[in-house]
Point group: D3
Chain length 139, copies 6
């Protein structure tokens, strides 16, 4: 039985910073560099979600990709887009907003509703700039 991977991209623009509140400005600067600037900075993030499964004989679809897109929008994008990741986003509360932590948290939000569609969540990729991205495949 052929297993196929299908990927959907959505985008969000958000503010964040990397700084531990219990650390001094100097310690944050030494560890996180310009990412610790106190007044925030931001990015145009790209989120790529890959699911896998066997295409249906009837539709040729692993999954209706518009449903994957809707889950991404409702569960993740609507909470992150034009928001501050550190102040506004419930699923990031208490977590430093490194791209690594963001990818893990997005995976956690998506896994259940994606699998309720009858396919498996394979990968979450978060691209922060044209020069860096993170991928997470679950534990």
């Amino acid at each position: 039985m052929p297993i196929v991977f299908i990927t959907r991209r959505e985008r969000f623009s958000a503010a964040h910073k990397l700084a531990r509140p219990e650390w001094s400005a100097e310690q944050n600067q030494a560890t996180f560099g310009k990412c610790s600037n106190p007044n925030w900075h931001g990015h145009n993030y790209e989120l790529w979600v890959t699911v896998k499964g066997e295409p249906s004989a009837e539709t040729g679809f692993v999954v209706d990709l518009s449903k994957v897109s809707a889950i991404m929008q409702e569960t993740v994008i609507s909470k992150l887009d034009h928001k501050n990741i550190d102040l506004d986003v419930d699923f990031m509360r208490g977590r430093l907003s490194s791209t690594e932590n963001l990818a893990i948290a997005i995976w956690e939000q998506l896994r259940e509703p994606i699998e309720a569609l009858g396919c498996s969540l394979h990968a979450v990729k978060v691209q922060e700039t044209e020069n860096n991205y993170v991928e997470y495949h679950g534990q």
Copy 2:
């Protein structure tokens, strides 16, 4: 012995639609949305083919990539480019032209001639828009 993966991109522009002829327009619309519009639509598709093998000591090549490109052109691109996937393409006859089915069918066309070059076919990736793509690695 080092195994290296090498990927070649080719492109084709084609028309298609997603609709089961035995279904009503309403049922097709409910299942496939705007992709079922009766007069077709189309895309600039990108096809990325990845092969793997050990580089030759003499040439440094896993495979002469111009031969991979030629196989892609003769076997796949020439049949799809500026064509209607549903009406014109022998290897898609009787198959709904979902990106998933397209990737599987392209894999089937490429596997034998690629392996005749002395390397393995590793992945076929078909990108339909800047927001979706499908990957297939064989069974």
Copy 3:
């Protein structure tokens, strides 16, 4: 007074062909090449619309870009996306669907509603593939 240009991109996927019905298949092939294939082909088109004007002292906007986007969607994209340009699009009736003619027709659709926003339509750019695009600035 500073004049600023602001550009919005929207996208559509459509089928079309280039062929004059009163010509033979041979003549169409000689003139339009593979673009004349009878069963259509298609593209992911990008539409870039540039308007110009003086930024408002109150908002800093030449125009509310979400209104430009809405006009593009209602007037143009909703008629072209997942459609056949030659069969389904009222404003292309009786016109060969060359990218040049498409850019002119889109300009004609957009000029009045864009100017009703209080800015000038400066340019319409239609990108058909990664290797070709057309620009039109009106007469």
Copy 4:
């Protein structure tokens, strides 16, 4: 004498919002939509600066582009990158951070040092997302 245009891109990641402090949250939301969210959002901005002039017979250069890049870095990028445009940037003080205003302010920062290199500043382009950008050519 041939006049040639040469363009350099630099990038910055910054936070901002669009909101007038003397307006209510409702009025800001009605005018600026999600861009007015109080806790900021952000973007990966691209800055494209075009200068023009006659190439030197000796070097073939309109200008040493590494000097244009250095001016962009010192005058603009170092003040914007990983900063909050509304709180941290001297040349944006008292200006709403619309992309239009940002392009005008960047032009004002660059014109004098660019012209001290012996060429003319032709255009400043600020790309905020993959779907919008602004261009300014001076008054």
Copy 5:
């Protein structure tokens, strides 16, 4: 009568360096930096050629773009692709291979054959890296 601009991209990969033979290595290094390294370096160049004219009532074309592409290939790309710009290219003999000089020389090669097609050459754009490009519009 509507004037439309149409653009075609072709690509070439070439080696070059920037150094005046009558200068010392130090003087070349001071003027051209790492671009003067004696053993050459290289780029994937993109060439964008824009022509303008009135679309034909019969074809909808300003010009048959496949003819523009063929002229670009024969006149320019075949001489530059997988070549050394400073050693192998007749139309660059005696000229420093700055992007500015390259754009001017390409314009000179293209103007006559493009205009023989019945349209005007409007612009030659040469992109050297993702961060720099040059445009020339003739004298």
Copy 6:
């Protein structure tokens, strides 16, 4: 424990050719085509390096990506950028500069310093043109 993959891109522009000195020009041309042209050609290469590990509870980082970038710059980019791969690069001495061999050699340069950061080197990807790239994951 969650394993996350993080990728950094750096770029270099270099000259090279593919030709065995002990072969005739004809044999090199038959094997390597235009890549064997004696006076070199060149590319804008992109290098994507992927490391993997568990994010630190304190920083949210698998690794400080600026350190990965610095290792890439010092170990690889500074030796390749604006250089001739066949003449100037110690770690390519005696190796044909196929993209496959280049990816393997870059892996060898990076593995030790990357692992000294406390994470694993997962993949080296070298993109030579927009149509081809190579990936290596070690032996």
